[in-house]
Each structure stands twice: as C-alpha cells, then as structure tokens.
C-alpha cells in the first residue's frame, strides 16, 4: 500500500528555526539545512536517507525545485521566504513524492495536448 513514510520529528522551536534559513541557496553551508533535508526526505522529495549535512548541494536544490513546482511557487531552487513559509504550514503526513515520482502533478491529458 502507499502509505506515509515519516521519520521526521521537529519540536515547535525547530519549526520556527526554518525561518532562519530563508535566502539560502546552492553552495552555501548553513547550520540547520539538515532539518530541511530531513523534511524533504519525509515527504519524498529526497529519496534516499543519506547522511545529511548542512551543505546546500545539488540534491537539495533539485528537491526544492520539485517542491516549489508542486506548490506552484517560483521554481528557483533556493530557499526563498515563500518556500520556507509553505514548509512551515501544518500539513498532511502522506508524502507528495512516492518512489521518486511526484504524486501532485499529473502529466497533461489528451485534451490539453489537443489544444
């Protein structure tokens, strides 16, 4: 069965620390980015639970872009304030990405192709 795959546990203070990560982008090393990676892993955006570091690497940028596309944010790949705010919103625990495939965006149907 498709089911949630949570291994993510943040206290209230940790959630608020997400705010401090606003503006981060690829190439930076910022304490706290590990929590962002864990968050994105929890909801399927980073498929493998590697030894996460505080480095803003390629995999994090790619995951953030997918997240931004799913939530119809500007797909910049950086942690802009709108993206961080969205991540801090209370949400359902069912992952958005299952087995590497986003479940939030379907390919366009035949009618769209015809138009």
């Amino acid at each position: 069965h498709a089911h949630p795959s949570l291994n993510f546990n943040l206290s209230g203070s940790a959630w608020s620390s997400f705010y401090n990560l606003s503006g981060c982008h690829k190439g930076e090393h910022v304490p706290g980015l590990t929590a962002i990676k864990q968050y994105l892993h929890t909801f399927g955006y980073i498929p493998q639970n590697l030894n996460f570091t505080d480095d803003f690497d390629d995999s994090l940028e790619s995951a953030i872009k997918t997240y931004q596309q799913n939530f119809r944010l500007n797909a910049t790949g950086s942690l802009d304030s709108g993206t961080v705010r969205q991540m801090m919103s209370p949400r359902c625990g069912v992952p958005d990405v299952v087995n590497g495939t986003t479940t939030m965006m379907r390919s366009r149907g035949l009618s769209s192709v015809m138009r």
């Binding site: 069965h1 498709a2 959630w15 119809r72 919103s89 209370p90 949400r91 625990g93 939030m104 366009r108």
Partner: protein, 192 residues
C-alpha cells in the same frame, strides 16, 4: 487530482463502507459533536460518488478505522507534536486514518489557533478512498492547511478525481464550491 501509484481503490463489491472511531477517543461531552464532524465529512464524499458510508460500533471490523494518536503509535510513522504533521491515512483497502492527538482540534466554532477537524477529516478520507495530493490550492486534497481556516467542501478537482475512481452519484448534481480557477483554464497548468 492524483492517485496513489497503481491507482488503488476499494473493490467494486465494496461500495457501502463502514467506519468507526476508536473507542474512548472523545469525552462524553464532545462525543456527539465530534461524530457529527466525521459524519459530515463522509457525506461530502458520498454526495459526489457512488460510495456510501455508515458508522459502525465495531472498530476492529470497520472498513475505515479512525483514531487519534500521539507520537509513536505503532505504524512506523510517529506524529511530531503540535503543528507540523496533522494526520495521515493509508491507501485502499487499508482503511486506517490517524490524526495527531497533540493538535488543538476545533470541532465546532472558530479558533484562530486551532486546526479545523472537519477540514482535515475530509482530506484524509480522500486518501482512504484513493486520492493523492493535488497542487490545486482550492482542492481539499491540497496538502497544507493553515491554523484557523476551514476548507471542507469538495472542489471541482476533488470531484473529478473521486468520480474517476468510483463514478458519479447520479442522485446529486455538482457539489463543487470552488470551480477551476481562471488561470488553470487558460494555461492548462495543474494536474487534470
């Protein structure tokens, strides 16, 4: 709208589903109002499709089993305390629907700090029936909700999704309250 991988759904011979709330969940004073919340949530899906839902007194044998848990509750997916993750549910035909007991759930009335129970219930029932998340912010199946807000009526996106799985309720018209946005109509963006 989207489906889980493999498009799992309740079998065709299972159109009258039973649901039960874990015994002892609510205090006597809250019981009636809380049960009414879930009854309304199920009714919204029933109005749009061919499924019907009946509350059962037998939690162990019900098709859909609703429970409030805190922290690690044995399914390998621990809850995280107040806010963050509010609830989760399993795809058909599992039937488990779990809500985080640590949240400030609002059963009736308004609270700017609380989470509207009916809004989350309608969303999680969508998962139990086979719907995945939607990127349409107006849809019930959009994954996030802010405190103090209420989103309980199925949008066009939700109705199209559930009717693709189970067909339409011939006794009801469209129950959509949030039509597809103009932006979606124009650029074909989104997930239909």
């Amino acid at each position: 709208y989207t489906f889980f991988p493999g498009n799992p759904r309740w079998p065709v011979w299972k159109r009258n589903l039973t649901y039960a709330i874990r015994p002892g969940t609510f205090s006597t004073s809250d019981d009636t109002a809380a049960r009414a919340v879930f009854a309304r949530a199920f009714a919204r899906w029933a109005a749009a499709t061919t499924l019907s839902f009946t509350e059962s007194t037998s939690y162990s044998t019900a098709d859909i089993r609703i429970a409030f848990f805190g922290g690690d509750h044995g399914d390998g997916e621990p809850f995280d305390g107040a806010l963050g993750t509010l609830a989760h549910a399993f795809s058909p035909p599992d039937g488990r629907l779990h809500l985080d007991a640590a949240e400030l759930w609002v059963v009736s009335g308004n609270s700017r700090l609380g989470i509207d129970l009916e809004s989350v219930a309608v969303h999680e029932i969508g998962h139990v029936l086979g719907l995945g998340h939607s990127s349409d912010e107006a849809a019930i199946m959009f994954p996030t909700i802010t405190t103090g807000t209420r989103r309980v009526e199925l949008a066009t996106d939700d109705i199209m999704g559930i009717q693709e799985l189970y067909g339409a309720n011939s006794n009801a018209g469209s129950t959509a309250s949030s039509p597809v946005t103009q932006e979606n109509e124009q650029n074909g963006a989104g997930n239909k």
